[in-house]
C-alpha cells in the first residue's frame, strides 16, 4: 500500500511527547508516527501529510495546551471532511467532566486515556482504534494482521465476503 497511514501525537510537553512516541514504537513499521507540540503545528502537520497523499489513522492529543486546546483541535479535525475518519484519542491529566462530554459529543472522541498511562494500556487502545480504522476504511486487513487485532480482522474477512479469485 503506497498511501501511508500516520499516527499523530500532539503534546506540548516535550518529555511527555517523547514518552508517548517511544511507547508507540512497535507500530512505527506499519504506521509512521508524526508529532506536534501545539494545535497550530498539528494542523500544519496534518495538512502536509494529506498533501503528500498520505492520511491520518489515529490522533493522540493532549488536552491542555498553549493556544487552542486539545478538545477544540479534535473538534476542528472532526469537521474536516478529509480527516474526520481518523480515530481520535484524548490523552489528558486533568479534563473535567464537561470537557469530556463536549469532546465525545462534538469531536466524536473514540477513546480517552488518563495520564499517567501504562504502555500496555496505550498499546491496547491504539491497537483497537487502528483496527477500527482499517475496518471502517475497508482497507485490506491482511497486511495489518501482525500488528493489530488479528481475531477481529479475521472476523471482518469472514463476514465481508473477501473472495477467492
Amino acid at each position: 500500500m503506497d498511501r501511508k497511514i500516520f499516527i499523530l501525537v500532539v503534546e506540548d510537553e516535550l518529555e511527555v511527547m517523547e514518552a508517548l512516541v517511544n511507547d508507540l514504537e512497535q507500530f512505527e513499521g506499519y504506521f509512521p508516527i508524526e508529532s506536534a507540540n501545539s494545535s497550530e503545528e498539528a494542523k500544519q502537520v496534518v495538512e502536509d501529510i494529506y498533501a503528500a497523499g498520505n492520511e491520518i489513522g489515529l490522533v493522540l492529543c493532549d488536552h491542555v495546551m498553549p493556544g487552542q486546546n486539545g478538545v477544540d483541535f479534535l473538534i476542528e479535525l472532526q469537521t474536516n471532511n478529509q480527516q474526520h475518519n481518523a480515530k481520535k484519542v484524548l490523552v489528558t491529566g486533568q479534563a473535567g467532566l464537561e470537557d469530556t462530554i463536549q469532546a465525545i459529543n462534538n469531536a466524536q472522541l473514540d477513546h480517552y486515556i488518563a495520564k499517567p498511562w501504562t504502555k500496555e494500556q496505550l498499546e491496547e487502545v491504539v491497537t483497537a482504534q487502528l483496527t477500527n480504522y482499517i475496518m471502517a476504511q475497508r482497507y485490506n486487513p491482511m497486511q495489518y494482521m501482525m500488528i493489530l487485532d488479528s481475531v477481529r480482522l479475521l472476523e471482518y474477512m469472514r463476514t465481508h465476503k473477501i473472495t477467492d479469485h
Binding site: D2, G53, M142, Q143, Y144, M145, M146, S150, V151, L154, E155, Y156, M157, R158, T159, H160, K161, I162, T163, D164, H165
Partner: protein, 466 residues
Amino acid sequence: MKLDTKQIVGISIGLLGLISPFFFQLEGLSDAGHVALGIFFLAAAYWMLEPFPIYATSVLVIFLQVILLSQQGFLFPESTAQYTPDDYTAFIGTLASPIIILFLGGFVLADAAVKYDLDRNLTRILLSPFGKKPGSIVLGLMVVTALLSAFMSNTATTAMMMTVILPIMARIGKTDPLRIGLSLCIPFAANIGGIATPIGTPPNAVVIGALSQQGINIPFGEWMILATPLVVVALLFTWFLLIKMFKPEAESIEIDMSGKFNTSGNAILLYIAFAATVLFWVTESFHSVKSAIIALIPVVFLTLSGVVTKEDIRKLPWEVLWLVAGGISLGISMKSTGLAEWIVGSIEWSSFGTISLLVVFAGVSVLMSNFLSNTVTATLLIPLAVSLATSGVAGEGFNLIIVSLVIGVSASMAMMLPISTPPNAIAMSTGTIQTSNMAKAGISVGIFGIILVVIYALFYWPFILN
C-alpha cells in the same frame, strides 16, 4: 485516480496487445479473429499485470466484444463468409448463465451461514471427534476446513478457521514446529477443499461454464464424484506432508470452542434451506433438475423469509460473478471468430503425446496460478484446451471434459506463495510462518497435485465419464 509506474506499464502493454494484431496479417486468421486476438492480449495483460482490478477487466472484455465483435458492434454489422457475428446478448448473457446463477445460490447460502454462525458451530461439532493429539487435530482442522470451503468461499473459511487456531497457537511453545503446521494446514485445506464442488471456487465455474458452451452439462453430483476422491487423496497427502515436515513437539492440544447453535426461527430456516439445497444438488443425477435451478431455492426461500436482507444481498461478492462471466464470454468470440482454431492449427500438437499434453496443461496451470489469480489462469487456459480437444488434432485420449478438469483442478493446486491464493495470504499475514516454510510445503503439494491430476485424468475420470 493516480496511476503509478506499474499501472502505466500494465495499461500500455494491454493497449499494445489490443492493437498489435491489426499491424500484421496473420495467415489463416479472419479479420474478426485479429480483433478477438487483440482483445485476448488485452485481457491477458490486464488480468496478469492487474493495472485494474480483475473484475473490471472482465467487464471491459465483455464490453469490447459487444462493441467490436457483436452484430450490433462497429466492425461486423453484416455476416461475412469468414465470420457470422453473434448477437450482443450472447456476450452480456454470460452474466446470467446457469453457472453464475449456481454461484449466486452458493453465495446466498454461504452468506446466511456466516450470518448465523453455522460455519463456526459446524466446526465445533465436527472437530470434537478428533481428540487432542496434535496429528489428529491437524487432520480434523483440515477435514473441516475442506468441507466448509467446498460450499463457502475459501477465503472466508480460512479467516474463520484462523480464529479457531489463534488461541491454540498462543498455548503452544514459540519454537514448536506445530505452529507452522497449523498455520499452513488451514489455507492448504481450504484451497484443496474448494475443488470438491462446482461452487467451491471460481475456477470450477469457469470449467463448467466453458463446457456448457460446448453443450456439455456437468451435474453437481457428477462433479463431486469426479473431484471428491482427488480432494480426499490430496488432503491426506498434505496432512501427512505437514506432520512430517513440521513435527509437533506438543503432546496434546486443547481446542476450546464454546458456543451454541443459533436456534432462532430464521436460523432454523437457514439450516433447512442449506441442507435441502445441498441434498438436491448432490442428487441432481437422480432427479435431473438442473443445479442452477436448485440454486434458486435458497435465493427465493431466504429472501422471501427475510433471513437474507436487502443489505446482505447488496454485500454479496458480485465481482466474482463478473469475473467468471468475463471469462466465459471471452471463450465465445475465440470460438466464433475461429481464433481458437487458428491457435490450435498453428502448433504441431500431434508431436506431443496425450500424457505429455496433460502434464503440460496441469503444470502450466499450477505454475501460472501460483502467480496469478486461479480464476484468471483457468479463464486464459481453458479456451485453448477446448479448441484443442474439439479440433481432434491432439488425439483420442484428449477428451474435452478431462482436459478442462485438469486445468480447473490444477489451478486450485497452487499454494506455493503468499500471493498464490487469498487463504495463503491470510495465513502468512499472521506472522507465524516464513515464506520459505510455505514455499517448501507448497511446492511439494503442487508437484504432488500435478501427478495426482494426471493419474486421475488417465484412469479415474475416463472410467467415470464412460
